[in-house]
């Protein structure tokens, strides 16, 4: 790789722009996509690799190209600097998520409680509109307070966020559904909300709940079919 290519690749990544590095394996010739004119078939494969966030190879006129997508970090937007947030914030970066916590209650959203996390003390509707959730964004509301959670959910439901989760019991969620319906969200949109939030792993502590939320986010991102028993899993069970 030419040092100049590396520098340009890193500049694109620093600007959080998706970019694919195309390498001809026979001789190491390289292009960056988008930005450099490449054959249509290569461009198409680069777009697909960026969409799927997975590297792939393409053989074009007898030459094999390796297509390596570099996508901006996934984002996790958390509404509420709650106790669970404190457990979630260090977990998410390890899974590739950049975390932003939104909480206008300044006593909660402090650097002390959430070291190293991007904190926004604006109202969730303003903050969410500014952050513009996209298909690489997960949104989780954890305040228990409709005044804070609802405006965030309202914007999340109008966005392409791949995951929307809301803390609260089934009863709380039923009331929430009624309020979101009043804001004009149909049943299909509301069904995007994972509530109660997190996979059912019988989580009790804040860390366990954070784990269940991250597991559910990963499952949503990877398109996992939940509730399926893994082949062979039954054999491992101890007979009653």
């Amino acid at each position: 790789m030419r040092a100049e290519t590396l520098a340009r690749l890193q500049a694109e990544r620093a600007a959080k722009r998706p970019v694919a590095l195309l390498t001809r394996l026979a001789d190491g010739a390289q292009h960056l996509f988008p930005g450099e004119g490449v054959p249509a078939a290569l461009a198409e494969a680069a777009v697909a690799a960026l969409d799927a966030d997975a590297a792939r190879s393409l053989t074009l006129e007898g030459e094999t190209w390796f297509i390596h997508p570099y996508t901006p970090p996934l984002r996790l937007l958390v509404i509420g600097a709650a106790h669970i947030t404190q457990a979630l914030a260090p977990m998410a970066p390890a899974l590739g998520f950049a975390v932003t916590v939104i909480d206008p209650r300044r006593a909660f959203a402090t650097e002390e409680r959430l070291p190293g996390v991007t904190l926004i003390d604006a109202w969730p509707d303003d903050a969410m509109a500014e952050l513009a959730p996209d298909t690489r964004t997960a949104v989780v509301t954890l305040t228990h307070d409709p005044k804070l959670d609802d405006p965030a959910l309202d914007i999340a439901l109008r966005s392409g966020a791949f995951y929307i989760g809301a803390l609260g019991s089934r009863r709380t969620h039923a009331k929430r559904i009624a309020r979101l319906a009043e804001l004009g969200h149909g049943p299909e949109a509301i069904a995007r909300i994972h509530a109660p939030v997190g996979l059912d792993i019988r989580a009790v502590t804040a860390s366990e709940i954070a784990l269940s939320i991250m597991a559910e986010i990963v499952a949503a991102r990877r398109g996992a079919v939940l509730g399926e028993v893994r082949p062979g899993a039954m054999a491992a069970k101890v007979p009653a």
Partner: protein, 104 residues
Amino acid sequence: MTEDILAIAGAWRDAGEQVALATVVETWGSSPRPAGSQLAVTMSGKLAGSVSGGCIEGAVADAAKVAMNSGAPALLDFGISDERAWEVGLSCGGKLKVFVEPIA
């Protein structure tokens, strides 16, 4: 945050090291690291990242040094038989191709 191998490779190069990059470009079977996994190697012997569970990193580093000396990239084939894989601590029996290129 997951390690940024390119950033590390760039920083090493800025510090005056000779650096090569190894990238998994194809895998078959249950290889431990997916295509796109990277290992940065310096002539002085520094390593960052991984292209397997530790099984082939040594061989890849050697190939990277050859590439740094010659200035030419190389495509390496690793077929790991089950028995051999077990011996070296990789029980997957996977196969993979690794592209090694000097940064110049």
